[in-house]
Symmetry: C2
Subunit: 92 residues, 2 copies
C-alpha cells in the first residue's frame, strides 16, 4: 500500500476532525462516560479493526480511549489508516 503525501493526509484529515497527525501516525482521543463505556467503545473499535485487518494501538485510561493509526508495513500513513479512521468516526 502506497504512502500518502502530506497533501493527501491533510485533505483526508479535513474530513476527520477528531484525528490529529503527529509524524507518521494519526491519533484520536475519545472521552467516554466511565470505564465501562470506554471498554464498550474499545470493543466496537476492535470489531472494525478485525473487519479491516488493520489494528490501531489502543490506550485506555479509565474513561479515555486514545487510538493511534499507522501502516507499519508501509512505514507511514496510507489509505488503510484513513479508511479505518472514517469507520471509527462513523460509530458516533
Amino acid at each position: 500500500m502506497d504512502l500518502l503525501t502530506d497533501e493527501e493526509i491533510a485533505a483526508a484529515l479535513a474530513s476527520l476532525p477528531g484525528w490529529k497527525r503527529t509524524g507518521d501516525v494519526i491519533t484520536r482521543s475519545v472521552e467516554l462516560a466511565d470505564f465501562r463505556a470506554a471498554m464498550l467503545f474499545t470493543g466496537a473499535v476492535a470489531y472494525l479493526a478485525e473487519d479491516a485487518n488493520h489494528h490501531p494501538d489502543i490506550a485506555i485510561a479509565w474513561n479515555r480511549v486514545t487510538l493511534t493509526l499507522s501502516t507499519h508495513s508501509a512505514g507511514g500513513l496510507t489509505a488503510a489508516d484513513i479508511a479505518l479512521a472514517g469507520r471509527i468516526d462513523a460509530l458516533g
Copy 2:
C-alpha cells in the same frame, strides 16, 4: 488507602514476577497470540477491574497488552494495586 513502603512493595512483587515497579506504578506486559486474543485478555482484565472498582491503564498494540497500576487517589502504590495484580495473574 495507605501507601505501601518500598519494602512492602518489594515483598509483594516477589510473588508477582510479571510485574515491575517504576516509581509510583507497577506494570505488566503480556504477549498474546494475536489481536483477538489480546482483546479477550483485556476483557477479562476489565471484568476484574470493575469488580475491584480499581482500573489499570491498558495499552493494546496488536498482540501485546501492557497494564499499569497505581492508586491515583493515594498518589502511589497501595494494597489495591497489589491485590488487582494478583487477580490478573490468576487469569493465567
